[in-house]
Structures are given as C-alpha cells and as structure tokens.
C-alpha cells in the first residue's frame, strides 16, 4: 500500500503556481503527485461556455437572484457572471469565518484561478524587493531582483507574454511577444504625462497572451490569441496562459504526473524521528475517505489562504501550533492590494478616431510614488490600470416604427471614455492575520479559516493621493468629467492574497528561507502568494510562478544531492 502511495514529490494545488511545480518536477523525471481539492477541468473539453454568443446566455450574462443571494461574497467579484460563474467557489459550499469583512474569491478546480485571472504580468523591480529594508516594515526579503530575474525569463518564455520593451528601471523588461499597443487617447495621455511629470510613465500593460506563438507554444498545442477577450471562460485557442492549457498537460505528457482531483489536503505529516515531513493526509472530497501519500519533498501551492490553513492544521508534538511555526508568525503579516480607488473621465478630442477589434489588456501606470526616496506622508505607492475606448450609444428615442428605425441605424460612438483603477501596496502587519476557527469544521473535518484583515491609515492616504494625482494628470491631458470613487470594498476582492508564511533571512522573524523552504522543516516548500514578504503593486501571479520554478529546480538539485 505504501509503495502505491509514494512519490518523488507531492504538489498541493493545481492552480497558477502548483502547475509550475508539477511541470518542473515531471520534466526532470520526478514521479509527482498533484493534489487538487476540486474537480478536474480539461483544456478545451471543460469550457462549456467558451463559444457562446451574448444572446445565447438566457440571462444575458446576469447571475440569477437566488445564486447572488446565497453567495454574496463571490457575487461581488467582477468576473462572477453567467459565462464563468461555474469556475468560482460558492460561499455557501465553502464557508469561512470573517472576523472583519473579507471577500475571499476562490477557484477550486484543476487550473484554480488561472482560468479566470486578469492575465497581467508585470515584473517586480529591485525597488520592490528592497522596499521593506529601506522603509522599515515587514522584514527584508531574502532575495533580490537578480535572484529571480532568470526565472521571470524562464516563465515568460514558456507562458508567452505580450509586451513592449519600455526600458524602465521600475518595471524591468522581460521576454516579450509583440504588443497590441495603445489607443490614440492612451498614447496622448502617455505623451502628456511623460512631458509634464518627469519620472512618470504610461505603458502598454504586459499580459499573458500569445500574440505571436513561438515553437514552444506550438508544442504545448496553443495557438495565437484572437483578441476575443472572453478569457474567463477558458480559451479554445489556448491564447492566454492558464495551467490547464500549459503546465498541467505538459507535466502529464511526461508520464510522470499523477493528478488526483477531489483531494482535500487535511494536513502535512511530520515524522518526529526523521525530523522532516514525510507526506500528506488527504480526505477524498466525495467519499470522505482518509488517505496518506508520501514523498521526500512537498510543495504547498494551495493559494495563499488555504496554504496557511494546511500548515496551521499540520500539528504534531514538535509543531503544536502548525508546521514550521516556531515563532508564532504563521498566518500573520497577511496582506493584499488596495483596489478601492477608481477614476473615470471623458475626452472630447480625437473624435475622428476609434479603436477596432478587441484587446484583452489595457495601459498601465507603473508606481511613481516613493520609488527612489520617501516623498509623501504615506509609505510606498500604487500602480494603476488605464483604459480607454468609445462606446456605441443606440438611439432609443421614440416608440413603435420610429424607435425601430432609430435602432436599425448603426449607433453613433460616444466620446472617448477613460477609466483607471488603483493597485495599492498594503503594508503587512502582525494585526492582519488569519487563524483556525476552533469551533467550526467543514464537512471534511478541516477547521474553518478565520480571517482578521483590514485597511489602515496608510491605505486611506494612498487613495486620497491617487484621486489627486490622477485628477491632475487627466486634467492636464484635457480630459473632462473626471470622477473619482471609493468602492469601499472589503479586502480580498482584489484577489491578490499574499503573506502569512513569509520569506525572510531570520527564522525568528520569518517562516521561509530564500529558497521558499520552511526554516524549521526544509523539505516543505511554500511558493504561492503565502510566501510573499511584501506585496508591492504588481499583479503577483508572474512572481508566484517564477518563485515556484526557481524553488522547484532548487529542490530537484537538493534531492539529487540527497540533501532533503
């Protein structure tokens, strides 16, 4: 029995980062067990809505009232619509405890949230990794940009990233496929900002789309992105990166992967005599049967909050407070991105032009606040999305034959509409933490997660600054009807959960070392969002993927040297 359940490596989670661990291990010949708590989602086969036209959705995209009413948290997510709601976890099916409001958006399936992600892939810069040390918050990152740069390249080449080489030290260039480019109004804004605000930039946002597939992408069976912008449904062309189209089938083809869906990981097994982790306890999601699997190396990629949950629930005499948790910091210094602030505007100029086709990305304003030195009354700063387009306005005047005639004319385009959203760095704090609910368990016998996370004064100041700066920059570009709004949304809806098992140099103040190994249990690696020491402003998935590939290759070397 033990043999059948013994592997060279176990990966917990088949999503954005787990897919990369699976790929790296299987490619290098390791017999790898990939555990996924949800169902399997096969590329192409399991994208039921992918080719549906808007008029084919019974509710024209709207989510029925009963579903919204039963699932208020996930219903607040922008992508939880009739076309993709089957990829999101329903609140009702997987409850958690909110000590403070937290919108936990989850995707329990092979592919995880990589199916529905926004596909933004900006690299971190040296200023991001040096942040905590310079500004005295969290702890110093145990790595610098140079440590991760080759792994960014590794991931970018395989995943396929569209972008321009912008030559910015704040947002390093990568391995790019061609860019779709900016609209005329975005280009006008870029020129205005760069001229009037030295050091500020507006660029084409790098994104995980195959604008010009290379040999490696053809080997994956993926084809050119068709700019459909319906990515959240899964793509019939494999035009964007998700684990389902890319890393998971790649791992599968080696013959080294055993993928086990419907596998809820209860905890990691720690052997006190051996002084290391030996495997994992799994509860079959359907049969509730408990099964143990064994391997010399375990990667935890369950998506930040569930990764913390698994570790907190992995108790032993040696680790009564959770695996590797000697310092009591497991689950603490949890952070996210502040997505509350938005801005919209209009532009009456350039009415002789419009955009054509589709573009599954936008423009992007890299962080310009406090980059080189502290210059505001808040720490760190924000990046921002920046998009523009012109919308058709059907003429719905009148009724009867007159209305029909009005509607039958091609609608006129409105003025250029501009929108921007802040992506603010939040400061990890001990008071933002998650823990196990002592009273409640789920139907698989795993304690519920209790979330205690909130904004702080730094976040409020940043929102104010975003409003002021964006309003000023937009006004100077001649935009009108500039409106700012604070959604007051709860943390979590940014879907950028980070920290709780942070990396660091010192075992007294961090959980993971520079190779993402638990200081106190080095054959367990954490390489998803939970490992993040600080959050910076970039969409984090690219960094999770690069850290995973880096750590997996390190683990393979260590296994060869029998060091694990």
């Amino acid at each position: 029995m033990a043999d059948k359940n013994t592997f060279d490596a176990i990966v917990i989670g088949a999503g954005m980062s787990g897919g990369w661990a699976a790929k790296e291990f299987c490619e290098k010949g390791l017999k790898t067990l990939v555990l996924e708590r949800g169902r399997d989602v096969k590329h192409l086969k399991d994208y039921p809505t992918t080719n549906m036209k808007p008029w084919e959705f019974p509710h024209r995209g709207q989510v029925p009232f009963d579903i919204k009413n039963e699932n208020p948290v996930v219903s607040r997510c922008y992508a939880f619509r009739e076309d993709a709601m089957h990829f999101f976890v329903k609140d009702k099916e997987h409850p958690y405890t909110q000590e403070k409001p937290f919108d936990w958006i989850r995707g329990y399936q092979v592919g995880g949230k990589s199916i529905m992600w926004a596909r933004q892939t900006q690299r971190w810069s040296k200023y991001d990794f040096e942040g905590p040390a310079r500004d005295g918050y969290a702890v110093d990152w145990p790595i610098r940009y140079e440590d991760i740069a080759p792994w960014y390249s590794h991931v970018e080449k395989f995943a396929g990233i569209s972008g321009n080489k912008d030559g910015l030290d704040t947002l390093p260039d990568g391995e790019f496929l061609p860019a779709w480019g900016l609209s005329c109004v975005e280009d006008h804004f870029k020129k205005t900002v760069e001229e009037k605000y030295p050091g500020r930039h507006v660029i084409y946002a790098r994104c995980a789309h195959l604008t010009e597939p290379q040999e490696i992408h053809k080997q994956q069976g993926r084809a050119q992105c068709q700019a459909r912008n319906l990515c959240q449904r899964g793509c019939p062309f494999g035009g964007y990166y998700n684990s389902n189209s890319t890393t998971i089938p790649w791992a599968e083809r080696t013959g080294n992967m055993t993928l086990r869906p419907h596998s809820v990981v209860h905890s990691i097994i720690y052997d006190e005599k051996k002084g290391k982790a030996t495997g994992v306890r799994v509860i079959d999601a359907n049969t509730k049967e408990a099964i143990e699997y064994f391997a010399p190396v375990i990667f935890v990629n369950a998506a930040a909050l569930n990764t913390i949950l698994v570790l907190l629930n992995s108790t032993s005499n040696r680790f009564p407070n959770g695996l590797g948790n000697d310092n009591g910091l497991l689950g603490k210094y949890f952070a996210f991105h502040n997505y509350r602030a938005r801005m919209t505007a209009e532009y009456e100029g350039m009415k002789e032009f419009k955009t054509e086709g589709g573009r599954p990305t936008s423009a992007y304003i890299p962080r310009f606040r406090n980059v080189y030195k502290q210059e505001t009354d808040f720490l760190r700063g924000y990046a921002a999305t920046f998009g523009s387009g012109r919308y058709a306005r059907p003429n719905s005047n009148g009724f009867g034959e007159e209305l029909k005639a009005n509607l039958s004319k091609k609608p006129e385009l409105g003025p250029w509409f501009i929108s921007s959203q802040m992506m603010g760095e939040t400061i990890p704090k001990e008071t933002n933490f998650v823990s196990l609910d002592k009273d409640k368990k789920d139907e698989w016998g795993v304690p519920l997660l209790k979330i205690n996370v909130d904004y702080d004064d730094n976040d409020e100041k940043m929102i104010k600054d975003f409003f002021e700066q964006m309003t000023e920059m937009c006004a100077s570009a001649g935009f009108t009807n500039i409106k700012t709004s604070d959604s007051k949304q709860a943390p979590g809806l940014d879907i950028h959960e980070m920290g709780g098992v942070r990396m660091g140099k010192d075992p007294k103040t961090s959980l993971l070392n520079k190779w993402n190994q638990l200081h106190a249990c080095p054959n367990v690696f954490v390489t998803d969002g939970a490992c993040m020491t600080s959050t910076s402003t970039q969409n984090p998935s690219l960094t999770f993927m690069a850290l995973t590939a880096r750590a997996a290759n390190y683990a393979i070397e260590q296994l060869k040297k029998s060091e694990l």
Partner: protein, 176 residues
Amino acid sequence: MKRRAAIRTIIITSAGVVLLPSCGSDDVQKAVELSKIKITGNQAKLLASLTQTIIPDTGAQEAKRGNPDEFILMMVNDCASPDDQQKFLTGLDEFEKMVKERYGKSFASLDDAQKKELLTNLEDKKGLPNAANEFYSHIKGATVQFYTGSENYMTTVMEYNIIPKRYKGCVPVAGT
C-alpha cells in the same frame, strides 16, 4: 394580434429555463406559471401588448428571437429580488388601472391612435402619474435591451464578431 397568442408557460427543468407554448394559447385568462412570480392572464396580455407597441413585430425575420414579454418575465422571475418582483407586479396593475381610468378599457383593447397618444405622453413624461412614467421607462428599457441583445441586431447592426482577431488602437471613424 398574433402576439396575444404568444402567452407561454415557462417551466423549470433540470437543464434550466425553457419556454414552451401553453396548450390553450388563446386562453389569455390563464395565469402564466413561473417558478417565483405569478402573472395573471391580464397582466401577461398587458405586457405583451405594451412591448409590442414599443417595438412592433415585423414578422418572420424576428420570430425566432422569441418575444420581449417572455424575456422580461423570465428576467423578473430569475434575476430580480423579491422586492423588485413585487414592484414589477404592482407596476403592471397600476399601469392598467391608470389606462382604464383614462380610456375606460384595458391597454390591450386600446386602438392604435389611443396607444400612440398614451405612449407619446409617456415618452414626454407629460400629464401622467410619475409611477406610470417610471414603469413605462423600465419596460421600454428592458424591451430595448431584448432587442439590442438579439442575434439579429448584434450581427446586422453591430457587426458582432466573437473572433475579432485584432486590435487597432487608432483607426479613422468611417465617414469622417
């Protein structure tokens, strides 16, 4: 009034909502059975007649699109909150009451000139109770949503293409 015959029964199956013709399609007094709201024959008749007046049918070309009144009923049943469902039902009754007070008969029985007069006033928000204006504007919005969301509209007027293949950030607007 072909539309009048179009009262349908909406039934819920395991596969979702489907529309089936009811057996007695001329029996307008028969209530439309929806899973969450109950519509009387008269309410259904009013909705069919009002949406028809807002955007008249032109025959076969659009027949396969279904009817705006069915679409509205399904959306109210499936997507509206209980409060909004109640508001919708009350809206139908009050609208009919207003019509009867003014014309002495139901909306569906009005002749074309009377309908035109009433809708002109509703469009101009002139001389009618505010509730009637709001109800009309809600029904008109939903009727236009149905029409502009149809395959016919999206493919012929809007040139919808699920595979745009390209993005061009700055192209001249035709005719300028």
